[in-house]
Subunit: 221 residues, 2 copies
Amino acid sequence: MTMGPKAKIPARKAPASRKTTLVRWNNALQSRDEINEAKRLALVRTAGTAFKARGFHNTSLEDLAAALNVTKPTLYYYIDNKQDLLYRCHQYALDLGDQAHDYARDGQDGLEKLLRMLSRYIELMTDDFAAYSLLSDLNDLSEEHKTAIQKRRRAFDTVFRNFINEGIQDGSIRPCDPMLTVAWFMGAVNAIPRWFDTKGRMTGADVAAAYADLLTRAIRA
Amino acid sequence: MTMGPKAKIPARKAPASRKTTLVRWNNALQSRDEINEAKRLALVRTAGTAFKARGFHNTSLEDLAAALNVTKPTLYYYIDNKQDLLYRCHQYALDLGDQAHDYARDGQDGLEKLLRMLSRYIELMTDDFAAYSLLSDLNDLSEEHKTAIQKRRRAFDTVFRNFINEGIQDGSIRPCDPMLTVAWFMGAVNAIPRWFDTKGRMTGADVAAAYADLLTRAIRA
DNA sequence: CCTACCGATCGGTAGG
DNA sequence: CCTACCGATCGGTAGG
């Protein structure tokens, strides 16, 4: 059933229906969908944090439910199953990568774009639980989800490789093997969540700056 | 019971005992202990390979037993339990690190020692299943084993940090933050098993040379 | 969103 | 080194 702009006058003969509820308080309240999405997000974030702290297989759905003050069956309203939950963690982290990509476009040359993307990615990653999935074993995903994640990761790496090729063309980066160079620094970057401590002496921006500096020295023309 | 050189003449009145068996065929055969150790090693290597391919929790002891053509209970003669097996995988990988350390001592200055250790470590790592444990979740170890592994890993990192400090002193390495620099390139190095393919276009030595080159450019004075 | 429950897997052991 | 088996955990579902 498609309809135009939301009706402002309650439909006749529908006094206490769900639909009228939606406009009460002038929509100051979240819609049902928004509430569900917020709950799902809370679940994903809780899961990411717990998986990182104790591991995927050492965290039961019961644990997660307890952390959210609900019971296990309740979780199944928001996710299909445990693997689906892990998949959502991965998606979340990859979305950060896309954000970093958007930020990179403003760079002047290949090297600058590369550095912008790298720095932004590190900042987003250190800022968030999302880092968990970078440490995760892809074998814990279903075959289809695993393929999907690998594809997105490859696409992310390809963006980096293209920036390197661009930099070699425009003279900002010395000739090098793009595949190997990306493997090198992405390995370093994706390992950050293993040791980074939010309450440590360095901020995420500090790490980003330091890593960008090391990379620059290694590959600039 | 301690005794001198192994007796060459069978002890009197011990015609068919274990002890006499040991010198048969002039010791061309392995001793019982050596055989057991060889079997244990086969188990550890099989486990490392399987864990890497499918993950620790997605590999049952039954799977491992089947791969070795024995039954599950048999495995318990060689290991205490599954966690113990994982622990042995970690030990094995860390032993490679020690080998690399030995090889590094011959370097002339800080930078050269660092590069020798790094290259050797990469070569050993790409050559072997052992790489699995680098990808493993330490939370799958018992508390004591986890602590022990973390301690050895820290010691390994400290060697690298000391080489960097040495290099800064002797002028072969530019001033930099040793902790951060080690975190950077060890992240890159430990990620190699995620993508390295024994049958790919690059050998382990190729990767070692390329990574050493990138590191050199990033930190030399 | 909960109570109650099932089924399967799997690490580990007994006993020979 | 094997046959046989136990106990516990845990993902997932029924039904309301």
